[in-house]
Structures are given as C-alpha cells and as structure tokens.
C-alpha cells in the first residue's frame, strides 16, 4: 500500500480551482449519483433536458479528488447543448483527454463521472417509459464501475499492482 505520484495536468488543476457548473440544480429534469460516501468517492450529476432531449444545463457535485472534480466539471461542459444520444457516446477516455490526461491511478475518477451521467440519462428514459435504440440494454463499463464503486478500489488495486507484489 503506498502513495502514488500524481502529475495532474494544468487543466485539471484549473478546473479543480474554478470548476464549471458546480452545485446542486434545484430544477433539474433528472439527477443521479455514483459511488457512495461509505466507500470514499462520490459524485452527483444534474441535467436540465428540454423537449428535444437536448441537455440545456448540467451541473455536478463531488466528494472526491481533484481528478474527480475536474472530470465531472469537464463533463458538464461537454454535454451542454448536446442531445442525450450524443452525450451518451462520451466515454471516460474522452473526458480524460479533454482534461489533458489522467494519471493511471485516477482513471476511475473519470469513469465515475461518466457513470453518473449515463445513469441520469437512463433514469430520464426510465421515467419517460421507453428505451431509445442507441441505448444498450446492458450496462456499459462506466455504469458497471459506478455500480460497483464499493468494490472498485479492489479492482483497481489489482490492475495497478506493480511487479513485486505490492499491497
């Protein structure tokens, strides 16, 4: 078990210091969370969606690290003005690229943000009572990760173990 060096990009620090679209949205069309305080990281995502399934506003809250805050913030900017279908197609790697890359140990923070977004979109259609064609039946990687956030740390830790049996 050890600390990890975190060479964050300047963009991450900028968004960490001046996050865009931060805060609970009282009049959100839909919202979702991913992660839980009991296991550490948590994110909440709020969407205002118009009649054409265009996201007119997005906001977030984060109980997580700088990478978590920055990727969530970036994601709110990336989805604004997009149709839900387009927003759905944004993967965690896209967000990671937009913030200038993530340290390996922080991939899951981006995953969590996308997971929360997709959950909110699913929730929107669940309420509408139908599932659009482009939305897969099965949970995507990001959603599964969000669901399993309680176990995420273990998974990641296995993946990240460096040669030599580090615990």
């Amino acid at each position: 078990m050890s600390r990890s060096p975190l060479p964050y990009s300047r963009k991450i620090l900028e968004l960490f210091r001046n996050p865009k679209n931060l805060g609970r949205m009282e009049d959100a069309t839909v919202s979702a969370t991913a992660g839980s305080p009991a296991c550490g990281d948590m994110i909440a995502f709020y969407l205002k969606i118009d009649e054409n399934t265009v996201i007119t506003r997005a906001s977030f809250e984060s109980y997580g690290c700088a990478a978590n805050i920055a990727t969530a913030s970036m994601l709110t900017e990336m989805v604004e003005g997009k149709k839900l279908e387009e927003a759905w197609r944004i993967g965690w790697k896209d967000v990671a690229n937009e913030v200038g890359g993530l340290p390996a140990v922080k991939f899951h923070c981006g995953v969590l943000a996308v997971g929360a977004l997709r959950r909110a979109i699913r929730e929107f259609f669940r309420r509408k009572g139908f599932k659009p064609e482009w939305m897969p039946e099965k949970e995507t990687f990001e959603e599964k990760q969000a669901l399993e956030e309680e176990e995420l740390s273990k998974i990641i830790s296995q993946r990240l173990t460096l040669g030599g049996g580090e615990k």
């Binding site: 078990m1 050890s2 600390r3 990890s4 975190l6 060479p7 964050y8 990009s9 300047r10 620090l13 900028e14 960490f16 210091r17 996050p19 931060l22 805060g23 609970r24 969370t33 305080p37 009991a38 296991c39 550490g40 990281d41 948590m42 994110i43 909440a44 809250e61 984060s62 109980y63 997580g64 690290c65 700088a66 978590n68 805050i69 200038g100 890359g101 340290p103 140990v105 899951h108 995420l152 740390s153 990641i156 830790s157 990240l160 173990t161 049996g165 580090e166 615990k167």
Partner: protein
C-alpha cells in the same frame, strides 16, 4: 516523459503566496540551514575519504563517523558506537531488523496492526514465504492491546517488531510494558522497535526499555534524508540484507556517507540540546493547531490527546471533505500537508492506521496529517488556521454527501 511538462505547468500554476508552511514532516523535510551548514565542508573538503583507508582523508572520515555514532548511541542510552549501524533510511533499517533477524529461523512474527508500512510490508513478504504473522489490534486511540500481545507471543515467536510512537496519529505506545509483556511470554524473542517517531520527541533509553533492535530516522528530526540508523544491542545477531565489502558499519556495505551522517548528528544535537524546551514548544504549536482545527465543525481528532500523544503530531478528519482535494487546495496557499484519504493511495485504500483504530472510510477520507517542529512559529500556525477554514469550506461545498 511528456507528462513532466504537465507537472511543470502545475508547479507554475501555483502563484505567489503570503507564507509557506511545510507541515508534511511525516513524508520529507526541508533541511534547516544550521544543519546544512554543518554538513557543507564534508562534501567538498573535509573527511571526504573512505573511512577504511589509511590516509588523512580516510582517518578523518573514520573519526567523524565513529564520533557521530558514539554521540547518537549515547543519546539513546546505548553502550558503544559499535551498536549503531547507519543505513540509507528508516525503510532499510526496518527491513534489516526484520529480514536480518529471522534469517534461517522460522516461526511466528508479531506486529501491531497500526505499525508503519515499512514494518508491515516486509513482514507480509515473510508471511508469503511461510512465516506466521500476527497483527495485534489497537484501541480507538491507537494503543496496542497488551493482552492480545501477550497471547500472540508464543514459543514459536521469533520476532516482535513494532513502533514506539505511531507515525500517523502520534500514539505513544507503552513501550516498556510491550517489552515486559513479550519477555514474560517468551524470553527468547528478538524485539525490534521503530523509534523514528519517538527519537528527539519523547525520552527513552534502550537499556531501560530492554529492546534488542531500534530504528532511528534522520529526516524525522529535521536531519538530511538518505540516512538513518539501526541500534543493535551488543550480542544480538543480525544478518546483512545488502552484501558487499564492509567498512565501519558491520551491517551495511558501501561507502559511508559522511556528510549525511554529520547532518544526522547535528540534527540530533539540536533536538537534544534543549530537549524539554523543544518539546514544550512543539506541544504548544501542536495544541494551538489542533484546537484551531477542531473548532471547525464536523471534525474528528485521530489519536490521543495530551501527554499520550507525540508532541509534534496532529491528525484530524474533516468530514464531508475529501483529503487529497484539501491538500491541493492548501498547497495553493503555501500550506503543505498530507492525507490518509483513499484517493491519495495507489491502491485506493484509506490509511491502514485509521482503519486499525476503527475509523469509517468517510473519516479517513477527510483526514489530514501534520507535524510541527521547533522551526515553526505561532505565526505559521495562525496562517495555517486562516487557510484551513476557507479551504475546508470550499471543498465541502462541492460535496453532495452532507445532505445524505
């Protein structure tokens, strides 16, 4: 190495600050200039030879190193300079104590669940090789459970390795009782204590404690990094873990690092010159910092209070506030601290010490570890307190957890 540019940008991103206060003494230290000044001649012009060589530069090195070894040995109550082996750091001293003791033996090794990782990880490696490892639990303040310890030590036990003062939460262990308990359960056990967080901050004497092996760190008393020591009571056998031609250090081959050893000695001298004064000064700063931070709502103190706590250690959890984010926020203000948050760890598990004392993940998530030194002033602490409040508020304001 493209990401190095990121790091460079990130450093530039820090603006001018009113003041810089480095409280992350757990993880490294800036060298006080009085220590560096003492070291300087030894780099370029004095005693720069190898201490085993028969010429002036060698003899000077020999004299310098043995003098430092003698000085430090006397500070901890040892009998002779030969009992002290300089190593390259606390991690090496602890690995040497652990791997070097069990050697060909086999059997049980006993540690505490809240020991530093450079005790727990070597022991875990031995566990994989067939040793039995018992991790004795600690109470909510971090004190080792002496009854459980007594039960853990059986006739197969070859080594007890534990720390004198907890490096994260400052718990001063009942170290005399630990040794007594172990010796009563099995007089043949080798007892190792990592005193890196005790040396220079609480008084102890190796003879009085009756310990076999004891680790001391230089940077943890504001000496240079890259040097530490393992005290080995005369008669106790330890096998080397690095092999090579030995010089003045029976358990460490390689060319002795005279300037660093001189710095270690100087830092020791400064810590002990006015020991009580230094300690009470640290304690005052510690309590000022602790009191100020605990006045922020939704905070928890980790570890004990008063005399049972190391005079330099402050460890506080800010609920609903992720710790890594807080360390960065504070960094922008020139305040440098560390966190036990899972987000700061490569394997995304929170501090094992906080887990061992029964803290929920949430408490660990917002924990901040700080150490004060005699080089800090109350103005420093005041500045830190001023910075903390808005920092905690800003991070907390981002969190959805408060309403849950």
């Amino acid at each position: 190495m493209e990401h190095l540019n990121d790091v460079r940008n990130l450093i530039k991103y820090h603006g001018q600050v009113e003041r810089e206060v480095y409280l992350d003494l757990e993880n490294s230290t800036p060298l006080p200039s009085e220590v560096l000044q003492e070291m300087l001649p030894y780099f370029t012009s004095k005693a720069y030879g190898n201490p085993t060589l028969t010429h002036k530069q060698g003899w000077e090195a020999y004299e310098t190193i043995m003098d430092a070894a003698g000085f430090i040995t006397r500070l901890i109550g040892g009998s002779s300079a030969e009992e002290l082996c300089f190593t390259s750091g606390e991690a090496e001293a602890n690995s040497l104590a652990i791997f070097g003791t069990v050697g060909k033996k086999n059997g049980r090794i006993v540690v505490s669940a809240a020991d530093p990782l450079n005790i727990l990880l070597p022991v875990e490696k031995l566990e994989k090789k067939g040793f039995e490892v018992v991790r004795v639990p600690v109470d909510p303040e971090g004190f080792i459970n002496l009854e459980a310890l007594a039960k853990a030590v059986n006739k197969n036990t070859v080594l007890v390795s534990t720390s004198m003062v907890n490096n994260e939460i400052g718990t001063i262990q009942p170290f005399r009782e630990i040794v007594k308990t172990v010796r009563e359960a099995n007089p043949d056990v080798t007892i190792h204590m990592d005193a890196s967080d005790a040396y220079g901050r609480i008084s102890f004497n190796v003879k009085d404690i009756d310990v076999d092996l004891l680790s001391l760190s230089s940077y943890k008393i504001m000496g240079p990094r890259g040097v530490a020591a393992l005290y080995v009571k005369s008669g106790v056998e330890v096998e080397r873990i690095i092999e090579g031609p030995i010089g003045t250090q029976a358990l460490w081959p390689g060319v002795e690092n005279t300037p660093l050893i001189v710095g270690f000695k100087k830092a020791s001298e400064l810590a002990f010159k006015d020991f009580d004064g230094n300690v009470s000064r640290m304690r005052k700063l510690r309590d000022m910092l602790m009191k100020g931070l605990l006045s922020i709502e939704d905070t928890l103190l980790n570890g004990p209070v008063g005399d049972k706590r190391a005079p330099d250690n402050v460890n506080i959890s800010f609920l609903h506030c992720e710790g890594e984010a807080l360390t960065i926020e504070l960094s922008f203000k020139g305040v440098y601290v560390s966190s036990g948050s899972a987000c700061t760890r490569r394997i995304l598990q929170p501090s094992h010490v906080l887990t061992a004392i029964g803290r929920e993940y949430e408490a660990a998530h917002g924990s901040i570890l700080m150490k004060v030194s005699r080089y800090h002033s109350s103005e420093d602490i005041k500045y830190v307190l001023e910075c903390f409040k808005p920092a905690v508020e800003r991070i907390r304001a981002m969190s959805p957890t408060r309403r849950i």
